[in-house]
Subunit: 268 residues, 4 copies
Amino acid sequence: MKKLWPIVSKNAVTTNCLGLCGIRLTGVSEIEFRSDMTVELVRASAQDSDVIFAARVSTQGEQTLEAAQAEQEAQKKDRGLLNYLMRDRHGSPFEHNSMTFYVQAPIFVFREFMRHRIASYNEESGRYRELKPVFYVPDENRNLIQIGKPGSYEFEPGTAEQQALVQQEVMSVTRASYESYQRMLEAGVAREVARIALPLNIYSSMYVTMNARSLMNFLSLRTKREDSHFPSYPQREIEMCAEPMEEAWAKLMPISHEMFNLNGRVAP
Amino acid sequence: MKKLWPIVSKNAVTTNCLGLCGIRLTGVSEIEFRSDMTVELVRASAQDSDVIFAARVSTQGEQTLEAAQAEQEAQKKDRGLLNYLMRDRHGSPFEHNSMTFYVQAPIFVFREFMRHRIASYNEESGRYRELKPVFYVPDENRNLIQIGKPGSYEFEPGTAEQQALVQQEVMSVTRASYESYQRMLEAGVAREVARIALPLNIYSSMYVTMNARSLMNFLSLRTKREDSHFPSYPQREIEMCAEPMEEAWAKLMPISHEMFNLNGRVAP
Amino acid sequence: MKKLWPIVSKNAVTTNCLGLCGIRLTGVSEIEFRSDMTVELVRASAQDSDVIFAARVSTQGEQTLEAAQAEQEAQKKDRGLLNYLMRDRHGSPFEHNSMTFYVQAPIFVFREFMRHRIASYNEESGRYRELKPVFYVPDENRNLIQIGKPGSYEFEPGTAEQQALVQQEVMSVTRASYESYQRMLEAGVAREVARIALPLNIYSSMYVTMNARSLMNFLSLRTKREDSHFPSYPQREIEMCAEPMEEAWAKLMPISHEMFNLNGRVAP
Amino acid sequence: MKKLWPIVSKNAVTTNCLGLCGIRLTGVSEIEFRSDMTVELVRASAQDSDVIFAARVSTQGEQTLEAAQAEQEAQKKDRGLLNYLMRDRHGSPFEHNSMTFYVQAPIFVFREFMRHRIASYNEESGRYRELKPVFYVPDENRNLIQIGKPGSYEFEPGTAEQQALVQQEVMSVTRASYESYQRMLEAGVAREVARIALPLNIYSSMYVTMNARSLMNFLSLRTKREDSHFPSYPQREIEMCAEPMEEAWAKLMPISHEMFNLNGRVAP
């Protein structure tokens, strides 16, 4: 993990331009198309042992440290305790930690993200700066066709024609919208007005801070897994944010993550 | 207040079509342009007296009722108590009440709205239904030009040319985007994919529930008033939601509202 | 439901004095012993139909009302929808409602109660008024002996000797503590200081406001039921508050309550 | 800051025994009297620069780092930005950080503490372990007499007689209560029952985690300062927890702390 926030080197943004980047637009900006999300862990204070200590305060008071260190078997006990907390949904010990992520994703993803209220957000504002022409377009890995009924759709790739149509439509609308945005800005219209007709696939960026309990709730709802006790059917693009967040968390708190999976991915 | 939720009669939606509504679009849907917001109070359990009782439990315990009724001067005392609570920021007594609003507004407004975390939201989903072609376009009352520096912009109307440009650009982009959305849907693309290039000025609808304390926080940040102790510079369109919410609240809890104004519109 | 809050008639408090009430104490106050809790619903805006409307906004937008009324089968569909929301843990539609309870219980119960953060509280304050001599003592229905291991204790009644001992000890300590409190007050000591050695079984009173989603979380943790998907082992005295709260909620939102039980009493 | 949680060395607990500690009690335990609070920062991820980065994402997007480093004047600008955020109450950038404290304090303090809902708590439980005989008694620095009217009491030391009375009463009640607790435990009564008549001045311990925004709210309400824009009249004992928490925070985020003071100690 980096010591300094900003984090955001050009390299970090693995663009996937579909061969269409770099087209000059009315001499002002280059439109960039991407099909991926940027998720970087920029700050964390999060360890399995924090959960252990917080949980043990309720049963052992101040002996915590000695108790934890005295025994050879400590680690085995710790795994057992974490499993017990997760299984029986004792959630509060998972709150004494903190993870801050920097995320770049299209606005339609942020719309879903910010429905999670037990989190802290600071997002780039289109009122205070001119938005950059970076837009999302689905790549060939994104299934385009849904089958089944509401609440439990299944997705399939779609035909080559459908894929071509989506890319063409999205790119064409995007370009036209951004040109229009530029014309309004050039005519002296306020940024907060000019932006209103920009499309939902424009990228934004934010810092989001969560604790492990809140993150588990996010993951249980925003990843689709066979082994989930309560099934979720997230939109693929927010899952593309959730997956690297889960990966980062699993490195910080591997036993908690293991027990989360072992117990049906239910947030305690 | 209506007894049944849905609320949403056609009449409720005071459309303001700028003479441009009703244009057929590729034989599928009519695009509607609006310049207003719909805000309806659909449920409320909120009275000044609730605040009084909740505040008095801390000082008087169970005598609450008798104490409140015994005296001729009760009402005067109540005003004094509400003023005191507001001025010294004793906020918790303002939480024992509930207001549910039905709101129709463009997505760029909902984006700001949902940053308020002490509230409950259920919004129309573009994943589960085809979105209707209703879009926001600023009318002549919406100032288009900002002057001043970040954090304290002032807005001015703009020239007739600027007004014409904004309406033309917004409508043109909107129509093109919605046509594109329709073409993708007709080609069998999933709703959640087809919607990604729709513009931020498309209307959505939601139910939002808040208590008076949370609403005061919302109002303090989302209305621009000379008499605010802490100044706020909200985007005009969310203020257009906040104003009828404030009006509805003022009818339910007139003394609380008066004291909110009297004490600099600071949420207690 | 009553129109006015205070609610708290003497009759409402079903005292259970164990034949020991009414003993004069240093000529100042009568100590009262109780073994029950007071829970009264004083305000509510909560119906099953509110959940339905909130849930349907996501799929049907503004047609909500007509759709709900058009069909003979509406009620059957509503039950199905509520079951689906509960089972798959779509919790937000259960938030657009509000219930305010007046509760009298010992402080050791309020200590557990107020760990529930998604709720609004106003409690009687021992800083602003002299606390009344009303104390909790377990009656013969309260199991006194725990067996088993931490996390899943079972309780048994205890012997007659144990029951007598508990009543005698609790009453004796209580009386001595309250006499001491009175002596300090009479000597001019501030209430907030004199109260510090009062026992945890002294009754306090509060207003608490929750929505159905938060209440279900409370009930899932504060009632012990065989049919719970995730087992809980609450202290009996807080369960004595939770039970009448559940009863009141079940009357207001009977289908939601039924589905909560049907789906393992997991808060959605 | 220590790397490992438990933190709680005997030395950390600066006991203040009033010459009365160490009295054997029915051959079972030694009662300890204290007049102080233990507050230790056990984990923190909190710096002024975190606030800066979070705030700048809204205006500068990903250029954050370069912008911050490019200029000689960066630090001056940072101070200006923090002042602006505090003054105009832009609170969210102060949320991307985390502080975990270990606190030992009497239960009557924890009762007030836990009313702060934007925080995470894990407290020692009297259901799972036998509580230790450590009790609070006011020392000579604690003013015992209140004058003035509700809402704005002033406190004065009290006479030598009043001081002696309080110490005698509190210690005597405390001892009697703890002896009673011991007798019930020895007779086989469950811990959760035996504890109910323990006095409110018994010490408990907890971990509490907050971010700087939530901590500022806590400090604004739980410290009494002449320079507060909104006056607060906290009970002295919780202020004794708030003060070392503020001190620890001021070391971690000195500029934020300075601006908090400069702007009337209003949580943004």
